[in-house]
Structure formats: C-alpha cells, structure tokens
Amino acid sequence: MTHSDPKPEALSRRALLKGAGGVAAVGGLAATAEARSVTTLEPAPVPTLRGEVEVTLSINGATQTLKVEPRTTLLDALRTRLEPALTGTKLVCDSGSCGACTVLLDGKLAYACMNLAIDQVGRQVTTVEGLGTPEAQSDVQRAFCAEDAAMCGFCTPGFIVACHAALERKPNGTLDELKHEISGNLCRCGTYPHIFNALQRVQAERQVASQQGSKKGAK
C-alpha cells in the first residue's frame, strides 16, 4: 500500500468530513462575529488530513484499487477517482439532505456524500450501476420505466437504490410505510406518484412470483 503520509492536524468535525464545502460561509460568518463590515476567507484554519492513499474497495462486486485522500467522500471517489468514473450516483446537496447519492453499504442504505471512501475497505459498496444495466434491468428499474417514474432523471439513481432497500425492509409494506422508507430522497420534477406506483408494481410482481414459487415447491 503506498502512502504519502497524511498528516493529521488538529481534528474537528469538518476535518472528518471533507473540510471545505462551506468554507466561504464559515469564513464569512466568523468575520461577521468580529467586525460587521469585513468579510474574508482568511480565518479558516480548517485542519485536514491530506495526501493520497491507495485503497482497495469492493464496488458492485468487483475489486477496485484507487487512490483517495482520507477526506475523500465515497461520492467523490466514485465520481472522480475511479477509471472509468461511476457517475450514476449523483451529487446534488453534498450534505446528506437529498438522497441523490444513495448507495448500499453492506446492503444498508447510505448517503455516499456523508461517508468517506477509506471507511469502505472491507465493505460491499453497491451503486445504481450494480443493480442492473439497460440490457438487464432489475425489477425496480423496469417498474420505474413502466410507470414513468423518471423525468429529468437526476434523482432517479438514488431513488432506485432507496426503493430496492425499501422493498427489502418492507416487502409487504403499506404505501405509507414505503413512503417513509424512501423519504430520504428528493425529486424536483415531481415524479413521486409514479415512484409510488413503481414500488407497488414491484411488490405485486414479487408476491405473484413468490406464490408461483411456493406452488412449484409444493409440487
């Protein structure tokens, strides 16, 4: 494993996650507290672990070795540090509010923007690309197409992943329960009712399939 010796400076909450996104505001607000009239980015001694390390991750069932910094989020690693980049996972809020970067970590739902890439060593990372391809779609993906649950499509990958997890957790869930399960994801075009239809379509299909399966088993 090659190391370029990341130097831990004084740790803070921001250092643990990325460290920079809101810096303009941080600097500005700090300045405001001191002197109303001057804004500067200067007072930002944000401690950061710098330098690249090589990590080996399991992404969509394949082992991939890539260089990341300790502060690199899983989202940025997927989108900018893999070759080729895995860009299905989308960056929208970068702050855990919208769900566009939803992935599965060891099968559990997670926001890729709120998790560091280095923490994923030893875990199974599943992105939307790992759930199906245009040629071989998952049942959730087929249902999204059949119900027109994607408009601009930018939130769609996150919803696909979230819907897979919702149906795992609540295979017989009511619509209200399913809405709750996927309420960590936002859509702006307004596809929600179509997403709900897609969830219920998959539920019905899986129920039929399991009934047929148990009949076959009985024979």
Binding site: T39, L41, C98, F154
Partner: protein
C-alpha cells in the same frame, strides 16, 4: 419522367386511427436513466480534466479591498487561480458581479484547498437591503441599479380608471380587502448550472446543462475566443432547468477563460449554495387587493397594488384580473428592488403569483356573498371550457357531497378540519416557426429523427421518435431520436411551453415528407400513387388492397442511398391557448397549524396528447411543485448581514415523499382540436391557490402569506400572537 404527385398536407389524423401517439409510450431514455448510464454534464470526464469553482461574495454589497490567490497557486494540484475583481471594485449580489475569484485544480480535494487558500477582504455595506420593508425604509440606501435610480422603486405602471373602480367598489354589495406576501422561490434544479468544456481539433465541445442547445455556441464562442462554427454544444440529459438554463452565465465565461489559459478540459458547475444565490429565482410579491361583487355573484370591481420583488431585476407578475372577468379594475404595479440576485424565468413566470392573488380574492368574495365558490367561479370565467373542467375536478374531489359549500367548516374533536378548494389556469402555448427536423431512412431500414431540441425531463426525446414511427407504421424503437446537439437542424429554446408546439409539427412534416418520398418509389412496385398507401405494423399496403404489400425492410431496400428529408414547422399542426382546472382536498390541524394535502386533481387540455404517460407526469409534476411552493418553500436572507440562510436543501425545503397525497392527473379528452401545443407551464399555475382556498373552506383561515407553514396557518387562524 415520373408522374407529378399530388401530395397532401400533413395532418395528425383522427385520434382513433393512431397506433402510437395519444397512448402511453415508455420513455426511450428510461433504461439509461434508471441504471445510471445516462450521462449529464456533471458526469462528463476527459483526460486532463480540471475541476473549477467560483468564489462568490456571500453578502449583498461591498467594495473589494484585496483578493490574493497566491496561497491557492501554492497548493499542490491547483493549476489555475485568478482574482476576477480588482481592488476598489464594487461587488453586488448579482451573477458575475458577485464573483470574486475562481480556482481550477486536478482533483476536488486540491480544489477545496485552493478555494480555502484564496484570501479576500471586502468591505461590506452596512445595510443589507434584502426585504421589501428594508428596500422601502426611509433610510434605505439606493441599491437599484437602473441608471439614475433615485430610490429602490422602478417601473411603476398604472392601468384602469381609479375613480370608476373606487365608485364600483363602493357600490358593490360585498367587498374584500386582502394583503399578500409571497416569498421568492427557487428553481432547485437538481443538476446545478454549468458545463464541461473539452478543447478539441475543431475548437471545443461543450457539455452544457442547457434548455437551449442550439443557441449555446454563440455564448460559448465568446467565452472561448472561438468562432461559433468551432463550438459544438451537447445536452444529452439535463437535471432540470425550469426556466433557469438559457445560455451560460458567469459559470460559462469563467470556464471559457480557464480553458483558454490552460488549454485543458474544464469542469465548472455551480456548488449548491451558489445555485441558490446566482442561478435565478421566481419573483416574490407583496400586494394588496380590494375587490367587490354583486349579491348575485358577479365580480364588479378590483383595485390592486402589486410590488414585484425581483431583487435587482424587475420581477414578473401576470396581469390581473388573472383569467377572470371584472367590471371595473385599476391596478398599480411596480418593482421594489432589494440587493439580491435578479429573478429569472421560472415555469410560468409571474403566473402562480397572479393566480394565488386572484383566486384568493375570487374565493373570498364568493364566501362573502354567501355563494358556492365553485359556482361563483363558473359565473365569472370567460370560457365554458373552465366550467366543464371545474365540474370534473369537483366531482373527482367529492365536492357535491361535501358538507359545507358556502361557509367554512369546523374542526372535529381532534382539532382537524377538512376542506376543498379550486383554481383555474391558462397558458398561451405559442410556437416558433423556425423549428426544423431531419428524417433519414437508411437502405437497411434504420431511421433517424434528428433535431436540435433538448429533453429537460419532459419526454421530448421520445416523441422525436414516436411521431416518425406513427407516420411510417413502425415501432418507437425502430426510430433513433438524435437530439441535444447544436450541430443538428435548428430547434427552439425550451421555455414558455413552446417546445412541443414548435418541434412536433416540424417532426411530423419531416416524417410526412419521408413517407411521400417512399410512396413515390413504391408506385413502380405496388402501383398506387403517392397518398394511396396505408402504413401500419411494420408494413405498407395499397389502400383497399392488403395483398399489395411490402414489409418495411423491403421498402427501405428500394433506396439506393439514404433518404434524407428536412421538415419545417407547419402552422396547421399547432394551436395554442390552453386551459386547466385544479382542486385540492386538505386536512388542517387547527391545533398545530399543519396542513396535509390529501388529494389534488388537475384537468388539463392541450390538443392532441402525444404521449399520455409523459403528459400525466408533467401534470403531476406541476401539482407537486405547486404543493411544494404552497407548503414549504421560502427563501430567507439575514436582514442584518445579507447572508442567504436558505442555501441548501436542509434549510430551503421542497416537498418530499411524505408530503404527497393522492394526485389525479386528468387529460381533458373532451377537448378535441386536431392540433397540439406544449403545456408544461399551465399545471404549475393554480395548485397553491387551490390549496389556500381548501384551507379556508376547511377552517376559515384565509392564507395570504406563503408558504402555508404551521406558523402562517396559526397566524391566519388566531392572528399574530
């Protein structure tokens, strides 16, 4: 010598004869979108790519004292950093005027460090001027940027006869006097504004998130120092636009500069907080309306004072009396300027605000006159189409059996009250006559439909193929739609619901020309003249003789070389002017002020539906965005410092899954015009108005301040506490 062919004009034909159009057509790009394969501008990568970011002054106004990028340039991985303002420059909260510097780096982490290392000192103005009240205060500094501005007011326009209106008001049997506050709304495109620019042999290829791909090369050529012919702009998929993405702004200019100076590909997309501060917004409004009606239910008078809050822009507000007929009217409208970023077009610019004001006034007058608000509306609407649509909405919502029509209801023992409200919409849906489409039929039977439109999520890509497939008797999958590329035949910018009305006739015309050209070739084979064939199910046969037939591949095989035709906009295939009606069923918790929208219904016309499924998606999308606007969305600046307090999705709230009740999208099939047009604006117009009116019907709280958040609902119920 070939015989002269009598060709027909293209027509959409009887709806009953359509095999593909006016049905549910799955989106052709659905599989790419649901699997993450669809590539957006944000997703484009290129060897040697630099990630770039703007540094935006976060307050409203100030004067630059110094900007030092040397620290950024010292960061390993930072390739380019420049101050974009000189010492002494004034900065404003307005697009380019607020951008202090920019940095470009090899990695996102180096970019973070570089941005952090830029040091700037800006002396802020002491007053932020971010609210209506702040802008009109006696001691407010003049922030308006119109030449010779003496105050923060501009564009005063008075219409109507004030004396006659006041007399009519005085003579009216019932009067209402309502004051409105509508906050600024954001587009919240999930993909932020920006582009990836890749220099190449021709000049540059730009992957832009754009609603106007054909027009983009002009702006990017300037930014890149290239000729327009050297720039190709591509928008295959885009993560929302809603009116805010017509041509690159400062993010395009700076990206172009970095490409010129580094000769490397550049990825510059706004950060989320920048998207909220310099990518446009919907105009806020402060208004007072006094109106009167006769006791038999006719609107007799309306006097309105409307202040548009377009920040440093003029703002937009559709003219009153929005859709309705009024006896006498006098309006006074002006722009009140705050020191914030200017408004931009946003899905039906100015219309949801005008609808909210007018529909609230109409509703309040109906109750004041003791009338059923549905019947009162029907009496004062100028076209029976709305009357029919309102009745349909009312039936769908259970209005006929609803217990209280002419007075608000009362909460039950748990404090919950239920109500139903209504509103209507209209849109011009015009078309532009420059749209063109090229259809190419290859001898192997493959077909391309090519035009420089873009798919914002509307389903445009799908109908670019489906219209051609319908004409040639093929399946949608048999036609390859080629869009989103400025090199393609001209098409329109997607705004104002003009896209479908302009594009679809041109696509239809191209398909029609292709069919007639093929029929001319068929004459020697099957015997009938042009116009004498039926194209269905992958075959063509002579009218009235199904034995004289060829399969599509055989037809295409008659071609020696690709058949290549270009169609143009046909006025005969388009007609604008559309109507819609919406209603909402809500539950109001009168103890907490929480509003739960149980059901919304929309009935919408637009002529021939091309793709019913995508159309329902657009209608539902309009209702969802209106619901979100109604209940949640509110931009807030800190009044003292000018900082935007709602700069991300945890503070600027939009509707999520749990806010969405039952939505019923009804395509108005009673409207049978033989033409079509776009419709995306109309369904976003009336939703928040219907919800406000439903809240009143439920519990008697007249919501005139948006959003209808618990605090605003409780204030409407009990007054300021």
């Amino acid at each position: 010598m070939p015989r002269e062919h009598r060709t027909a004009d293209p027509s959409w034909g009887p709806r009953a004869d359509l095999d593909i159009l006016n049905r549910d057509i799955p989106r052709v790009d659905g599989p790419d979108k649901v699997t993450g394969r669809a590539k957006y501008s944000h997703d484009m990568r290129a060897p040697g790519l630099l990630y770039a970011r703007l540094i935006v002054y976060p307050r409203t106004r100030g004067k630059v004292e110094s900007i030092d990028v040397s620290g950024a340039l010292a960061v390993p991985g930072v390739v380019w950093a420049k101050a974009l303002k000189a010492a002494g420059a004034n900065v404003f909260y307005q697009g380019a005027d607020s951008v202090l510097a920019a940095v470009a780096a090899e990695t996102l982490e180096a970019l973070d460090d570089g941005v952090r290392a830029v040091k700037f000192v800006v002396k802020a103005d002491s007053k932020a001027v971010v609210t209506h009240k702040g802008a009109l205060a006696n001691d407010a500094p003049v922030v308006a940027r119109q030449r010779d501005a003496q105050s923060n007011i501009s564009g005063l326009r008075e219409r109507g006869d004030t004396a006659k209106t006041e007399a009519a008001l005085a003579a009216s049997d019932v009067q209402v006097d309502l004051s409105f506050e509508i906050p600024v709304q954001h587009h919240v495109c999930l993909e932020t504004h920006g582009q990836v620019i890749v220099p190449d042999e021709r000049g540059a290829t730009v992957y832009a998130s754009s609603q106007a791909v054909k027009g983009e090369p002009q702006g990017f050529a300037g930014a890149l120092g290239l000729k327009q012919s050297e720039v190709r702009v591509i928008t295959q998929h885009m993560g929302g636009g809603f009116g805010s993405k017509f041509g690159g702004g400062i993010e395009a200019q700076v990206a172009g500069q970095i490409v010129q100076e580094t000769k490397r590909p550049v990825h510059l997309l706004l950060t989320r907080d920048q998207e909220f501060s310099l990518a446009g917004n919907r105009t806020g409004v402060v208004a007072r309306v006094r109106a009167g009606a006769s006791k038999d239910g006719a609107l007799t008078a309306l006097a309105a004072e409307v202040d548009r809050l377009g920040g440093l822009g003029g703002g937009s507000f559709a003219a009153l009396p929005y859709i309705y007929k009024v006896g006498e009217m006098a309006t006074k409208m002006r722009s009140v300027h705050t020191a914030t970023d200017p408004n931009r077009a946003m899905r039906a610019p100015g219309h949801p605000q005008a609808s909210f004001v007018m529909e609230s006034v109409v509703d309040a007058l109906a109750y004041a006159a003791g009338k059923d608000p549905l019947e009162f509306r029907k009496l004062n609407l100028p076209d029976p189409i709305w009357q029919r649509q309102l009745d349909r909405v009312a039936t769908e919502l259970g209005w006929p059996a609803h217990p209280h029509h002419t007075a608000p209801g009362k909460p039950d023992a748990r404090g919950i009250a239920r109500g139903i409200g209504f509103a209507v919409s209209a849109w011009g849906s015009s078309a532009q006559d420059n749209a063109k489409c090229q259809v190419v039929v290859f001898p192997d039977g493959s077909v391309e439909s090519r035009t420089a439109t873009q798919d914002l999520g509307t389903g445009a890509r799908t109908y670019v193929a489906a219209i051609v497939a319908e004409e040639l008797g093929l399946q949608v999958a048999d036609v390859e739609p080629v869009i989103g590329d400025s090199d393609l035949p001209v098409n329109v910018a997607s705004g104002g619901s003009v896209t479908t009305g302009s594009s679809a006739p041109a696509i239809k015309h191209a398909a029609h020309l292709a069919r007639e050209a093929l029929e001319a070739k068929l004459e020697a084979v099957l015997g009938a003249a042009v116009g004498g064939y039926v194209w269905k199910g992958g075959h063509v046969h002579v009218k009235d003789d199904t034995t004289k037939k060829l399969a599509w591949k055989q037809v295409a095989g008659l071609l020696q070389e690709p058949l290549d035709v270009t169609g143009s906009f046909q006025q005969s295939l388009h007609a604008g002017s559309i109507h819609g009606a919406q209603g909402a069923l809500v539950e109001v918790d009168t103890l907490t002020g929480r509003v739960n929208v149980l059901k919304m219904v929309c009935v919408q016309d637009q002529g021939l539906p091309l793709n019913r499924m995508a159309l329902r998606s657009q209608i539902n999308g309009g209702m969802v965005q209106a619901l979100s606007y109604a209940l949640m969305e509110c931009r807030v600046h800190d009044e003292a410092t000018g900082y935007l307090l709602t700069g991300n999705l945890e503070s600027y709230l939009i509707a999520g899954c749990q806010e969405i009740g039952e939505l019923v999208a009804i395509i108005d099939d009673d409207e049978e015009r033989p033409t079509l047009c776009g419709m995306a604006e109309a369904p976003i117009v009336p939703g928040q108005s219907a919800i406000a009116n439903a809240i009143f019907n439920a519990c008697g709280a007249r919501l005139t301040t948006m959003p209808f958040s618990p605090d605003n609902v409780l204030t409407a119920l009990h007054g300021k506490v």
